[in-house]
């Protein structure tokens, strides 16, 4: 059975731990006075709201949950607008357009060579344009979270043939991040890349004469992963059980067989519904088919009755795929599981791996009703996740079970944003980082399967968290190979920048700006404190900072007859050591 993770968590004990925690907090808050310059001038002075953070460190902690990593400018803006004001401003921020970016890359490639085209890496470039360089940070961070729930993957051979389609899928997720989940579910279900990935595209109705049956793939996963999950849930995410204590299952094989018929007769968009277009024949291919929503083809849609969950779609005299789909998605969306099922996973992606039942219930309540009677309003859900008392409580910094491990992609983006990384080409040419031994072991939109890089309920055997019954999804991709691969890869990112080199370029495309660290190189304690603020909002333990400082001091800044180049090199090495040792510390990898 599914492990039930609404388990009692160890409380922060009194005494030594509390004193340690108090020291961490004090250090964190003390450092809030100094702050980076900020470049958010030009905006009208907003009215102060009640939720302006007490410190820059608190703002940075919030932004670590809400963005791909706090920049000094973001912190300034949050201090100016408050949390709610910042979120409201993000709601208005225009969305990064991934398909447009991909098409521009494709056009540029074709201008050089008419036979060339942009590829899957250009999808990732578009992703990092938003994730590292984009102003719509909250939208893209939520979209990235959704990409780990509503999974498609360019690793798949079919999806991998249509990078423009995956770029458009990122736009669909970006729209969904601040839209309504019902619409998102429909846009995902009709997206041709999802159709390819979970094989609903070109799925044919049953043939009783020959014995052919509909493909059940999408019907199964849309229930198991995208909407209701395996077990009936309470609003707090806990599993409902029968009189014998057995979990109540949400669906069975008959429900899947019934729902599978709904997902027959869907294929590529286009001006007609010919068999040739359904089959994807080269004679009937719309130029935009890889991103336009799939359309129904009546001749391939099952007309027999379709029973699943609480719904029954009566046999159709004329096949009506759109009508069938509407009933199916309305039924799934109305299921009381969706709020706690999706809400809890969003909390896990943004804030903490083991939210309390009460926290999940508050987010589910926002999903169920945004306060204006609307179900599935993602803006309300996002606010509920990020503004919840459990997310905001600074006391949680001392809870030894609160928070999550930063996944590898987010560690890299945190570094790049903390140190104002820029792209020489303007295109953020950061490609695939799949390899565990030599890279991050994780690439956006390249999950190995529809079950994502890790499972939301993963409890690592034989670990401290496992013994405490804590789920830590990111530990599923944390192993002897990946920890070394990350440490070695991020060293290169820091030292040499990251990404491909544009034609004629002499360095990697995306370069962090280490100058704020280099100017502090002759003041190691200040240097380490600044690194702590930028990467970990002042939460690095004193013992760690002392160790980093000693390592920094091991590089002497030459005096006397040394050349300026030698002095600069030493200062740069000091800055690199300080930042790098923070990046590989377990205390940074934890987000709390």
């Amino acid at each position: 059975m599914h492990e039930h993770h609404e388990l009692e968590r160890p409380r922060a004990p009194a005494g030594a731990l509390r004193r340690w925690f108090a020291a961490v907090l004090t250090a964190a808050l003390a450092a809030c006075g100094s702050g980076g310059g900020g470049d958010s001038g030009g905006s009208p002075t907003p009215q102060p709201t009640a939720d302006i953070p007490a410190s820059r460190a608190e703002a940075a902690r919030f932004l670590t949950q809400a963005t791909f990593g706090p920049s000094q400018a973001d912190i300034d803006r949050v201090m100016q607008l408050g949390l709610t004001g910042w979120i409201d401003e993000q709601f208005q921020q225009p969305a990064t357009q991934h398909r447009t970016a991909w098409e521009a890359a494709d056009a540029a490639a074709k201008a050089v060579d008419p036979m060339a085209s942009a590829g899957n890496n250009d999808v990732l470039y578009a992703f990092y344009q938003g994730a590292v360089g984009g102003r719509d940070q909250l939208r893209q961070r939520v979209a990235y979270s959704l990409s780990q729930i509503l999974v498609i993957s360019m690793v798949d051979g079919n999806v991998g043939q249509y990078p423009r389609g995956t770029a458009s899928y990122l736009d669909v997720l970006g729209d969904g991040a601040f839209g309504n989940y019902r619409n998102l579910l429909e846009n995902v279900s009709k997206h041709p890349m999802m159709g390819l990935y979970l094989t609903s595209l070109r799925n044919r109705k049953e043939d009783p004469r020959s014995g052919r049956v509909p493909d059940e793939n999408y019907a199964r996963e849309v229930m198991q992963l995208f909407s209701i999950g395996l077990y009936e849930l309470n609003n707090d995410g806990s599993i409902k059980t029968d009189a014998d204590g057995k979990p109540l299952e949400t669906y069975d094989a008959a429900d899947i067989a019934g729902l599978a018929k709904v997902f027959t007769g869907w294929s590529w968009a286009g001006p007609d519904q010919s068999d040739a277009r359904f089959n994807g024949n080269s004679s009937a291919r719309d130029a935009d088919r890889e991103w336009k929503p799939m359309q129904g083809y009546a001749q391939f849609h099952s007309t027999s009755d379709k029973a699943f969950l609480t719904a029954t779609i009566a046999a159709q005299t004329t096949a009506d795929p759109d009508a069938s789909l509407k009933v199916a998605l309305d039924t799934l969306f109305a299921h009381p599981n969706v709020g706690p099922f999706i809400g809890k996973q969003l909390i896990q992606r943004l804030v903490t791996s083991n939210p309390s039942g009460a926290y999940v219930a508050r987010v589910a309540a926002a999903f169920n009703d945004n306060g204006a009677g609307v179900r599935g309003d993602m803006k309300a859900v996002v606010k509920a996740v990020l503004l919840d008392p459990e997310a905001r409580d600074a006391g949680k910094l001392g809870d030894t079970a609160f928070g999550k491990l930063r996944e590898p992609v987010l560690r890299m983006t945190a570094l790049l944003r903390a140190y104002g990384a820029t792209s020489d080409s303007g295109r953020f040419l950061i490609g695939s980082s799949d390899d565990f031994g030599t890279s991050l072991g994780q690439t956006p939109m390249r999950s190995p399967t529809v079950f994502n890089f890790y499972r939301p309920g993963f409890v690592a055997p034989n670990t401290a968290t496992g013994n405490a019954n804590l789920a830590v999804p990111e530990l599923q991709i944390t192993h002897e190979t990946s920890v070394a691969g990350y440490a070695n890869f991020i060293r290169g990112v820091l030292q040499n920048g990251v990404g491909a080199r544009a034609a004629g370029a002499t360095r990697n495309d995306v370069q962090p700006d280490l100058s704020p660290a280099i100017v502090l190189a002759d003041k190691p304690a200040e240097l380490v404190a600044d690194v702590d603020q930028r990467l970990a909002y002042g939460t690095l333990p004193a013992e760690l900072k002392t160790a980093i400082e000693a390592a920094v001091n091991s590089v002497a800044i030459p005096g006397g007859s040394a050349t300026q180049a030698q002095i600069d090199a030493a200062k740069r090495n000091r800055a690199l050591i300080a930042i790098y040792l923070a990046l590989v510390s377990p205390e940074f990898i934890l987000q709390r």
């Binding site: 340690w20 014995g211 052919r212 395996l230 205390e587």
Partner: protein, 508 residues
């Protein structure tokens, strides 16, 4: 076993029992397991189990095919469906070089095999499994038909009243059930438990349970932790140099302090640090002791050795006709190199997992399967030969596992999730060339519903009702591995006592 060694085992047992008694609720069972293990591991020889997990759910209906007339007719009737029939061609049909790549016409007929006891039927393998056919003929590979997770013996007659595994047909849950006898969320697998039982045969328990392809619950023990190694060996944290940004102090701080320990009492930083410490410590041993990949028998010497270019690790891609690197063979190479270093790594009993993904063939099955089976066959043959050259033929047993079998019905170009499936067991200690267990009857689909009333072994859409349980399959391997005590077997295989036979007989 010498007197001294026995005392060492005794001390190991006491130490382990003491350590486990602090684990709370799990401890009575854990101590029991450790005690049984100390008794089981009175041995000095080397043995290893290697699980080849076929992720996605392998369609074994197209892997091992009964070719007697009744079976074949049913097969053709059910699987010859438009638009892209997944029905393979009869034995003896020559490949059509002009047909589409991966198509049954292009592949040619299925490959006949002659099992020792053919149960009155005849059999063949997928056309891309020529290497497996040869292993079978040489007596080094056995076929175990229709294996799947079961709680107790199950027939269509008692189907509604008997206990059944939870969350059948679901990928993640059935992967977990195959590996750990419970759906997703299980934390201890039967490979890891065998490691727990036999770890006292290892002077260093770190290398008891090893994966080349990511975390898998099969390898997780109550005590032993799975160790991850890449196809290339271990990765040194900090890189190859002695300095970090010009400083040896900084490198020492990285490796000996910061990355491997947590200054925070937070449970997640402690776990992160523990994995990192293991990574650093294990790498030192592994890198110092693994033979170079470009040496015989593991690989082919070359000036600038690369696995991708090693002819031993390349297979013929049936879709392109070209040679290409075989990632599964590369994983096997790492396993073989780890085995070569077993003395230095202190390993006398080991469990390994390698894997191959892509078996979720809902569509495009013909092409996918052709390539996957070409890889599988090539990799098994590579490993068989390498192990034999190392003198370990009878010490290493390799077996397949997968999420589930698939539907017998076709959805037009693929298959859906099923239950029971056929599996291979390979090695010098395997009584090969035979089938172990009844081969299922293949029927045809009812005209009016998805049932298969014409077969006692087939459920809706023709999915197989398993006739052999994973417990029995695993227990047979476990007994060869050295776990023979019935109580110990019962702790590893929770449903075993519900089945008449605890040993399927395919191991010597």
């Amino acid at each position: 076993m010498s007197h001294i060694a026995k005392h060492a085992d005794r001390r190991e047992f006491l130490r382990r029992a003491a350590a486990l008694s602090s684990l709370g609720a799990a401890s009575p069972f854990a101590i029991n397991l450790a005690a049984l293990g100390a008794a089981s591991a009175q041995t000095t020889d080397y043995k290893a189990l290697v699980c080849v997990f076929l992720y996605g759910g392998n369609d074994s209906f197209n892997m091992v095919l009964p070719t007697d007339t009744a079976s074949w007719d049913a097969y053709v009737a059910v699987r010859n469906q438009a638009p892209d029939p997944i029905q393979l061609l009869a034995a003896g049909m020559a490949p059509d070089p002009n047909a589409a790549a991966g198509s049954p016409l292009r592949l040619g007929g299925v490959l006949p095999i002659t099992p020792a006891d053919a149960q009155g039927r005849s059999f063949a393998l997928h056309p891309m499994l020529g290497a497996v056919r040869d292993l079978f003929a040489a007596g080094r590979l056995a076929i175990v038909p229709n294996v799947g997770p079961l709680v107790e013996p199950l027939t269509k007659a008692n189907f509604n009243s008997a206990r059944k595994p939870a969350k059948l047909y679901s990928h993640n849950d059935q992967q977990s059930t195959w590996q750990a006898f419970a759906p997703e969320g299980a934390r201890v697998g039967w490979g890891g438990k065998l490691g727990d039982l036999m770890a006292s045969a290892n002077s260093n328990t770190m290398f008891t349970s090893i994966s080349t392809s990511g975390s898998a619950v099969w390898l997780a023990g109550q005590r032993v932790l799975q160790y991850q190694v890449t196809s290339n060996g271990a990765i040194r944290l900090g890189g190859s140099g002695a300095t970090l940004f010009g400083s040896t102090v900084a490198m020492d701080t990285l490796r000996n302090t910061i990355a491997r320990s947590s200054r925070s009492p937070h449970l997640m930083t402690q776990d992160q640090a523990a994995v990192t410490a293991r990574s650093i410590d294990a790498e030192t041993l592994v890198s110092a002791n693994l033979p170079a990949p470009g040496t015989a028998p593991w690989g082919t010497p070359a000036a600038n050795y690369s696995q991708n270019n090693d002819p031993l690790l390349r297979y013929t891609n049936p879709l392109t006709g070209a040679q290409a690197g075989n990632g599964l063979a590369q994983q096997f190479q790492a396993v073989a190199r780890m085995m070569a270093a077993r003395a230095a790594l202190g390993a006398g009993r080991q469990v390994f997992m390698v894997s191959l993904g892509g078996f979720d063939t809902h569509d495009g099955q013909n092409r996918s399967h052709a390539d996957l089976y070409a890889r599988l066959g090539h990799a098994l043959a590579y490993f068989d030969k390498t192990i034999a050259d190392m003198g370990l033929a009878s010490s290493v047993t390799t077996f397949t596992a997968s999420d589930f079998g698939r539907t017998f019905t076709s959805n037009g170009d693929g298959t859906d999730h099923g239950w029971g499936s056929h599996h291979f067991v390979m090695g010098g200690a395997v009584k090969g060339g035979a089938l172990y267990g009844p081969f299922p009857v293949l029927g045809v689909k009812n005209a009016n519903n998805n049932n298969f009333d014409s077969s006692p072994d087939q459920l809706g859409n023709g999915a197989l009702l398993p006739s052999t349980s994973v417990d029995q399959y695993g227990a047979t391997l476990a007994q060869w591995f050295g776990v023979s005590d019935s109580t110990a077997l019962a702790t590893v295989f929770p449903n075993l006592s519900n089945f008449g036979s605890r040993n399927l007989g395919f191991m010597v």
